[in-house]
Structures are given as C-alpha cells and as structure tokens.
C-alpha cells in the first residue's frame, strides 16, 4: 500500500508519494538555502493562507509550497499513466493520475518540477 501526501491547490488536487518527502515545514521555517517553488503561483491559483511546505529528498534542498487541506492517503490504487492526449503534462511535472471514486488526483513528479 502506497502513501501519498495530498493537497488542494485552488481547484487542483495533487499527490506526492511520501517516499519523496524529507520533512514538512512551516512557511516561517523556510531558509534561503532552500530552493522553493510555490505551486499556487505557478498555476495561477489562490494561495492558501497557511500553506504546507514540503522539503524533498530529491532534488535535495528543494521544497514545494502546496495548498491547505493537506492530508495523507494510503491507497492500493495503482497510478494510471497520463492519457496520450495529456502526455505533454509530464514536462510540467504531472507524472500520473490517481483515480479515486470522488476525485482525480494528479501525481507530481518533484524532480521534473524543478527542471
């Protein structure tokens, strides 16, 4: 069973495999040594008032500002590869889809996001 960190970034629901995460920080704990990418800004959507920040194992010293409402998901679902029609999204860091009954999660590729 895989574990994912799930976050709602505006209207988008994304997931990161827990194995990519070094630690979860507060925004106030960010330091200049960390290369930080704010997904709400990148996707031009609302920034949560108290966003979650995750530091990644790879790339090292990189972290992502996510949305609020972050939660863990333990799932036996196997991520589905992006349909051919959407394959270009892999270049933007969306690796695959997790199709839940009530929502579709976009599985992030942390390394690709920082390329």
């Amino acid at each position: 069973m895989a574990a994912f960190l799930v976050s709602e970034i505006g209207p988008y629901h994304v997931a990161i495999e827990a194995q990519h995460i070094a630690r979860i920080l507060r925004e106030s704990e960010l330091t200049s040594e960390l290369n930080c990418l704010a997904l709400p800004t990148m996707w031009r959507t609302t920034t949560a008032p108290e966003p979650y920040v995750v530091e990644l194992l790879s790339p090292e010293k990189c972290c992502l500002i996510l949305g609020a409402q972050t939660r863990y998901l333990h799932s036996q679902l196997v991520p589905e590869r992006l349909p051919t029609f959407l394959e270009g999204l892999q270049e933007q860091g969306l690796l695959a889809l997790l199709l839940l009954e009530t929502e579709t999660l976009y599985l992030l590729d942390p390394a690709r996001l920082f390329q």
Binding site: Y12, T84, F85, L86
Partner: protein, 159 residues
Amino acid sequence: MSEQEPSLDSVDEQFFEVTPVALLTCGEFWVAFPVHEIEEITEWRQPSPLPGVDAHISGVLNFRGRALPLLDLAALLNTRASPRGAFQRIVIVNAASMRVGIETERVSRIIDARPDEWHAVEAVQGDRLRAVCVAELRLKEGVVGVLDTALLLELARVR
C-alpha cells in the same frame, strides 16, 4: 448540380465512404463525427480541472475506472455562442491512439448520409472549424461540418 456546386469527387473519398455519422452541436454550429470513431455518448459530468493547460481542455473524468480527458470543442474552435456551462452530453471519441470526451450541448441524431448530401467544405462557418473539417453535409439542421477526428485531437492535445 450547378457548376459552382462542389462535386463529390472533391470530398476525401475515405471520408465520403465513412457513414453513418453522429450530429452534435459545437457552439452555434453543427458538426459530425463518423460513428466508428465514437465509443459512447454519455451524460455530462463536471471534470476535475487540470493545471497548466489551455482553456479548451476542461479536465479529467474518472470514467468507469479510466482517465478520460474532456475537450471543450467550442472553445478550441472559437465557435461558442453562449457561456460555458450548458453542456448536456459527452461524446467519447477514439482516434489516433487518443480517447477523449467531447463536451456538447446536444447530440441530434445518427444518420446515413445520402451521396447527394455530402459536399466539399465550402459553407462551413468559422476559420478554425473549417480547418478541421474534411467534408460538409447539408441537412435539415443546416450546414454540418464533418470533422477529421485524428487531426482535431492532434491539434488539441497537450504538448
């Protein structure tokens, strides 16, 4: 048939032979897909939006356990007459290894077009719509653009 009337010879033979077709609305115009490229027609549902895509890609649906991208055809072809949100149906098409749901307000009927109803693309309105049509039908609905599904999906896909 007058001299000005497009001849059947000018219609791509491959598409001329492809009948029947399904008629659906694309904004203020009518378009048609060959039925052999239609997998299913279903009720419209709100998709999950996707980050970083053009406005004509509405999002993704979990459709029977498989991911189905939705395409707002009227937005892609710039033919919308009314605001987005009036969609009633999703026409699931499959071509060029792509399976996509086409959002539409209305699916009219499936027809076996008679040879005299097929014409070269001439009266179809809208530059973008004309560019993805291989033929046109003149029916009671009016001029119906018959779409090249593979070309349409290739133009609309995320690169």
